[in-house]
Symmetry: C2
Subunit: 471 residues, 2 copies
């Protein structure tokens, strides 16, 4: 197997690769919007046809109670290791549409960037591996290793059906490592391997007062306003120093030693870099920690949205009947999402004023995850990066959550290798998301190299003879 | 002039009166929604045609930079007093539509109530006077007094063009008293005359962080969340005892003596009645004051709405770029809306954290208003109520704001007589607004009596010879 022939193929095929990625990005595969369910199905079918066309085998669109999983494999390298390649074809909503310079589902090229919702998160990153596989299969009709592709359609809503799929197919999905490209590098010339992700928990907090809106003239000053009560309660979720003020919240937060913290300081972004990425002038949060630490080894509680009463233009003289906040926790080792959910409920019950009612719903518990950065499959990734990007990767922690990391590590027992190809200014989860095309090309090269280097890993025997079967 | 003949006519015409009111309520004359401008114009024209048909004269639809004013007069009672009859044909939005049992602009009769947006506020109340006038003109071709009807289309947005209209036509609009029916009674058998209204000031407070939404995984814990900052700032607008925590806010609040407070206690609703109207279990607000006092002689600051970040179903892992709250002050003598606006701006500037930016916009300043409850025109109203409803009215203060009261009193120098025909459970400014039909009938009778009783008031000479002329 000659990676150079694959690399040459990829180099000459850049224009069609970008066209195909644009096709992929045109599907508004927004997993959180029920009305988009058909678009997810169409996107999954398009992806499956594409995988079939480039020569992958056993291609399936596997239904789930939610959005389908696209599966494909190539297992014709007996005795060689088996890699899972994981990605997700679902995306976040495009809203607010008015803030996009070009429509989110009309991919647009400008200054070497491809703008579209999902361009970096995660269609572009996923597609880099697909194009690497194509480059081998088209030039040599074979891959250096066995691969099992798992592309899900529910990552942005917390992967509710992936774990049960993997658990049910535990034997069939056995692998030596799982490659996940859904993270970011530090800069175009600073590739990065993520070796830790924060866990998470989503929360909806609703405050209710009277059964209907009240006239603010008639009742203003005599009854508690649910919007005001909600704000006052939210104000009591943090203390004046940026710490989360929920009793017991920090009990299980792991304290990292000097060795790890100085490794982080050497490898991670500086405070200035993080502020610049955020286009923020001032930092905020737990004193005594760098911003990189605050966003990785420290937990966070974020208000994702708030709504109540009159919205839109003009005015309405009301005391709203209710108000709702959407919050999300980012959790770190050794916090447990279920325990945090209970602490939150207890705290809310304690701080809810008598004059209103509160209700709490929790969703998408995700455990924090850690990857052994000395595992051979991870070291192989570092080598591939050096070949693909011309620079060694830094090992960084991610502030976000990638539920599947734990799933692969705990259920399949294989390390998760997080090769990030996104950039800090890709505006993922925001208007004008983009994928930097030079990164796309170098990501393909890196994946080509990884498939080659991974071939030298010691494999568990006969791993490749198990495969997913419809049941 | 025989009020009994008018009363007989009104009694036999109840069914057509209700049908006509339904027609009037069908116009979605929502003054705060620019897309409804044509509906306001249509509604104004319908009303003008109606006034012409019942025999009023000099009927005009007078354009303003906003929505038109409908004017009509009848000035054929030389030597008799002149009354202004004021009402507004504009309404609040119907939203949230899902909470209406019948659509807001499809008037629906049920159990003696007519359900529609504007049924009580203010089309139904305004129409009671129109039907009283009709009852005289159809039976006797004359009214006991001169009348000048001013029906505006911008009350719900703070009457931005009414004052200049009245100022410009000060001479033409001279009158001995202005009758305003846009308030409520205490119960179906407890009519009420409002002798005080709170002033007001609307405020929009916007908090901005980064220029776009940030990924909450990447930045959660390191930058200040604008929604959180807004909530924390809102929490600092009240103290723990329900008082407004803006320095200087209470400086000009008039302290009422025991005489007025015990008059209020004898005549106003009890705490229990106010809580029952609000369908609230617990009161809230300034200790040391009854709920009636809190909503009338004490100021209030109400959150009318809040919005920021992800709304609607599902989740979005973002730190929102900005958040916005809509607030409104209710002000009391001797507070000045402009001074309060400045105190609010100063306070916000003081409490805005460094890490975000705040901006404040203020709208619709309204001065608090007081009416002399011993004025003969007010006493005449009490007599009319006794005849129309069979009970003497109580004299109460209103918590809401009726900007036109000050306009009439200050510019035209005539007392405002606030005959309320609404009920506390009419759900004005809320879904399922209604008008109680027995109140409609008794309101017409009360207006018929008022026109008769007012004929005995001493009139300023030749008041009726001035009238509005288009300019």
């Amino acid at each position: 197997m000659d990676p150079h022939r694959a690399l040459d193929y990829a180099r000459t095929r850049r224009a069609p690769f970008v066209s195909e990625l644009k096709e992929f990005l045109r599907f508004p595969s927004v997993s959180s919007q029920p009305r988009r369910a058909r678009d997810l199905k169409k996107c999954a079918r398009w992806l499956a046809r594409h995988l079939h066309r480039i020569g992958l085998e056993r291609v399936k669109v596997i239904p789930t109670p939610g959005h389908p999983i696209v599966y494909a494999s190539w297992l014709r390298a007996p005795g060689r290791p088996t890699l899972i390649i994981y990605g997700h074809y679902d995306v976040l909503p495009g809203e607010p549409l008015s803030e996009w310079r070009t429509p989110p589902f009309t991919p647009s090229l400008k200054n070497g960037n491809l703008y579209a919702r999902g361009a970096a998160d995660d269609k572009g990153q996923l597609f880099s591996h697909v194009k690497a596989i194509e480059s081998y299969l088209r030039t040599q009709r074979a891959l250096p290793v066995n691969v099992k592709c798992i592309f899900e359609g529910e990552e942005e809503i917390g992967s509710p059906h992936l774990t049960s799929f993997i658990t049910r197919n535990q034997r069939a999905l056995r692998a030596d490592a799982a490659v996940i490209s859904d993270t970011r590098m530090l800069a175009p010339d600073r590739p990065a391997i993520s070796y830790a992700q924060r866990g998470g928990l989503r929360v909806e907090l609703k405050i209710s007062g009277s059964p209907h809106d009240l006239h603010s003239g008639n009742f203003g000053g005599a009854v508690l306003n649910p919007v005001q009560a909600l704000c006052q309660m939210i104000a009591r979720l943090h203390d004046a120093h940026g710490y989360i003020a929920i009793p017991g919240f920090y009990d299980d937060v792991r304290r990292w030693g000097e060795a790890e913290r100085s490794f982080m300081a050497r490898n991670g972004p500086t405070d200035e870099e993080i502020l610049q990425d955020a286009q923020a002038q001032w930092d905020w949060g737990e004193s005594g920690f760098t911003l990189y630490e605050r966003t990785t080894i420290r937990p966070a509680l974020t208000l994702n949205g708030i709504t109540g009463g009159h919205q839109g233009p003009g005015s309405k003289s009301i005391i709203p009947a209710s108000a709702l906040a959407k919050l999300s926790f980012r959790l770190v080792p050794d916090q447990n999402p279920q325990k945090i959910a209970q602490l939150f409920r207890d705290h809310i019950a304690r701080i809810t004023p008598d004059a209103v009612r509160s209700s709490v719903q929790t969703f998408s518990p995700i455990e924090p995850a850690l990857v052994d950065r000395n595992h051979p499959a991870v070291k192989a990734a570092a080598l591939a990066y050096r070949k693909g990007f011309g620079s060694p990767p830094v090992f960084i922690r991610s502030g976000g959550s990638i539920p599947v990391v734990n799933t692969f590590q705990q259920i399949l027992g294989c390390p998760a290798v997080l090769l990030g190809f996104g950039l800090p200014d890709d505006h993922i989860h925001a208007p004008n998301e983009k994928f930097h095309l030079p990164n796309f090309y170098q990501a393909i090269a890196t994946s080509i190299w990884y498939l080659a280097v991974a071939a030298r890993l010691r494999s568990a025997p006969r791993m490749q003879q198990t495969d997913w079967q419809s049941q």
